[in-house]
């Protein structure tokens, strides 16, 4: 099971770009990299998923280098409502072909006015 390592916490001012890097040195060939956002007392919410290079959607970008041993979630121009815990997950292939993932500690992002 690929283990992930990410900073425990980060602070950022409103309007700034935030980059959160996750290390996953033993990622397997078929594993996806997925990021989730979780607010207090709510279930995690899917943000973005990638396999290699760069992926962008309406809320974030995900940068994955060629060796795939790390990934960086980029949040453009954060606002106070982006204050949350962000989890980086790497999939574990089960025999049925689906991914079972184990959550790491996550990064608690605090956006400051």
């Amino acid at each position: 099971l690929a283990k992930t390592t990410q900073p425990i916490s980060m602070d950022s001012y409103e309007g700034q770009e935030v980059n959160i890097t996750c290390s996953h040195n033993n990622i397997a060939t078929n594993d996806y990299i997925t990021w989730y956002q979780q607010f207090p007392s709510q279930g995690p919410r899917f943000i973005i998923q990638g396999y290699k290079t760069k992926v962008t959607n309406e809320v974030a970008s995900l940068f994955i280098p060629a060796d795939r041993k790390s990934s960086t979630l980029s949040l453009p121009r954060v606002s106070l409502s982006d204050t949350a815990v962000y989890y980086c997950l790497v999939g574990q292939r089960e025999s049925g072909g689906y991914q079972k993932v184990t959550f790491g500690i996550g990064t608690k992002l605090q956006v400051i006015p």
Binding site: T34, G43, Q49, L89, G96, Y98, Q99, K100, T102, G104
Partner: protein
């Protein structure tokens, strides 16, 4: 909208009294998961179903059981809740391929008195 629904949102049970939490989905996903999340901790996988195939995590206590009568519903049974079982319980679903990650419900907050 397709979604994952957990009921109830809050559950209070007495020490030792069996309790059942429910989860339903309209996504028609093959895989359903149950996670336990204690305060300020990451979600911890308890078990999951791939269709009717049940997969228990090695460190999940026997006190926790699950049922999946059909594709749409999954239940978490706690046979004799202890004070240490107070937590948020999260249900999630995913495609077999793992693409697009998990979809989580809002969770059930369990209090044991």
């Amino acid at each position: 909208d397709a979604m994952v629904i957990q009921n109830p949102r809050y559950q209070v049970t007495q020490f030792g009294k069996p309790v059942t939490l429910s989860c339903s989905q309209t996504l028609n996903h093959n895989v359903m998961y149950w996670y336990q999340q204690k305060s300020s901790q990451a979600p911890k996988l308890l078990f999951h179903y791939y269709d009717k195939d049940f997969n228990n995590e090695a460190d999940t206590p026997d006190n926790f059981q699950s049922r999946r009568p059909n594709t749409s519903f999954c239940f978490l049974d706690i046979r004799s809740p202890g004070l240490g079982d107070a937590a948020m319980y999260l249900c999630a679903t995913s495609r077999v391929t793992g693409r697009d990650g998990y979809t989580f419900g809002s969770g059930t907050r369990l209090t044991v008195v």
